[in-house]
Symmetry: C2
Amino acid sequence: MLATRREFLKWTRQGILAIGLFTLLAAPTTLAQSDPLPSWNDTAPKQAIVSFVEKVTRQGSPEFVAEPERIAVFDNDGTLWVEHPMYTQLAFALDRVKTLAPQHPEWQTVQPFKAALDGDMKTLAASGEKGLLEIIMVTHAGMTTDEFQKVVTDWLATARDPKFKRPYTELVYQPMVELLAYLRANGFKTFIVSGGGVEFMRPWTEKAYGVPPEQVVGSSIKTEFKMQDDTPTLRRLPEVNFIDDKAGKPVGINEEIGRRPIAAFGNSDGDLEMLQWTTMAGAPARLGMLVHHTDAEREYAYDRNTDFGRLDKALDAAAITGWTVIDMKADWKQIFKD
Amino acid sequence: MLATRREFLKWTRQGILAIGLFTLLAAPTTLAQSDPLPSWNDTAPKQAIVSFVEKVTRQGSPEFVAEPERIAVFDNDGTLWVEHPMYTQLAFALDRVKTLAPQHPEWQTVQPFKAALDGDMKTLAASGEKGLLEIIMVTHAGMTTDEFQKVVTDWLATARDPKFKRPYTELVYQPMVELLAYLRANGFKTFIVSGGGVEFMRPWTEKAYGVPPEQVVGSSIKTEFKMQDDTPTLRRLPEVNFIDDKAGKPVGINEEIGRRPIAAFGNSDGDLEMLQWTTMAGAPARLGMLVHHTDAEREYAYDRNTDFGRLDKALDAAAITGWTVIDMKADWKQIFKD
């Protein structure tokens, strides 16, 4: 009982008042407000979503899917929130280098740390994956999991996006937040499956998306359990554990969810294999969608040529496999919550 | 709404009729039937469970825990189902060696396969961890995840426990099944955290325990994603990915659940660190319990001297840390469902 009441309150908070009992109570004049996807224009993607949900939830429909099998997976960066001018986690890491710099005087001269401190993105990019990994490890490892959670939470409370001058957690796409809630209201369990660090996401995904920590799959570094003076601790080690990107996404889904999703939402080539795994099983109804960043005015416009969220192969694949491409400019009435 | 109706039907099926609305509707004479833990004697462990649940669910109680944080973790072998005379997964592997033997004539002479075929447990044990790993790899890897799921499901449908002559999935402990349902009825999310293979458990845990695949954490081998003739496949590789045992359990919990549990149930030294991680956080109410196999007549009696489910260090720790030890013989009215 409680679960539902809580869910209900959550929907209410999000202004999606018309699900369940409310539709029965509402006067006809308020029915226009009952659209569960108000930030979507009435174009093909919205129609594809609603039609898919109706098909899989209608008892007796040949495409009916039992509730426990209604698993939907969402990429995070560029699919649920902004990923330009750089991944938010990278902005976090660079800020963190600055915060830690006084304890590391050698960083003033040693690369890639000097570049990070100088904001010299060109040199930083030239340091390649190895350089980036060095930055990630000094900023993400060497503390307990509890300590890291606090560092992330504190940073998000004060950091501001350079373009929108808003907290990063406010730069989540309102249409996608509505979509997550709409799916859950129809018996779906919603998961995040992201190349981002799982412990970077978990402190805030429940509040921002309604996705609890146990439904977040991501990349991770190794951790080690130890009893320290009768206190159990998990320490974060500077060693990669799992990269939840590209062909790693189906692996992560299988490992942590253990069911094949029936709907997958992404925005880049990193999501190609996740969409393949989800939609190409030969089963009746599957939904694959890609967010295409086409709105330079309200957000950003990029696809085949970008360092963050390149959409190239997956865009070609969409045309062949029948995935729906969301044109942000044309299909979204609103990008962010006001 | 649907989730609750489904949950409700599930409780009803399990005979736990008195939760929620039913208690209000039921006549006083039926109240005696409303005990959610009928297979437990009214001894200390049952009282500890009920008192814990009442504390963490009572609004305004200093030990109140919000619903999303009500995470309970359960070991599987020896905690939720029988683990003697050997882990069920090992029985599966040995049967599987026999099934595959015609394709491997060399196994008739090469160890540890010869021992497996002969049922020579002594030689098998002497082959050590290396030998066991060889057996696990030839029986658990080299096929797709879908194929492995079918192999497990088919085996469980026909295999019978040597002592009880019943399917293994009927040898789940009825008191623990009731406990799982009781916790869920009180807003807990129940997880399995087992040293057993995650893909060996997932095909049947939902039916046996009401624990869906996405709430099962276990050991795993590596998998690889590939497109084969336009069909996405996950292939199981003969390489260990993660051992979810001992100090690995808190690591697995953190990696896949991402919250610290408030209740943990185990039965062996493999669960020691999981119980430490759960209960020694300094937070108000935490529950740690160990199933102690004390009933040679109705099940088995073993603790400090056994190859499967040794309970030694954790038993000593229980006395110090205040974990409740369940004495199967004294505390359980019934072991299995009739």
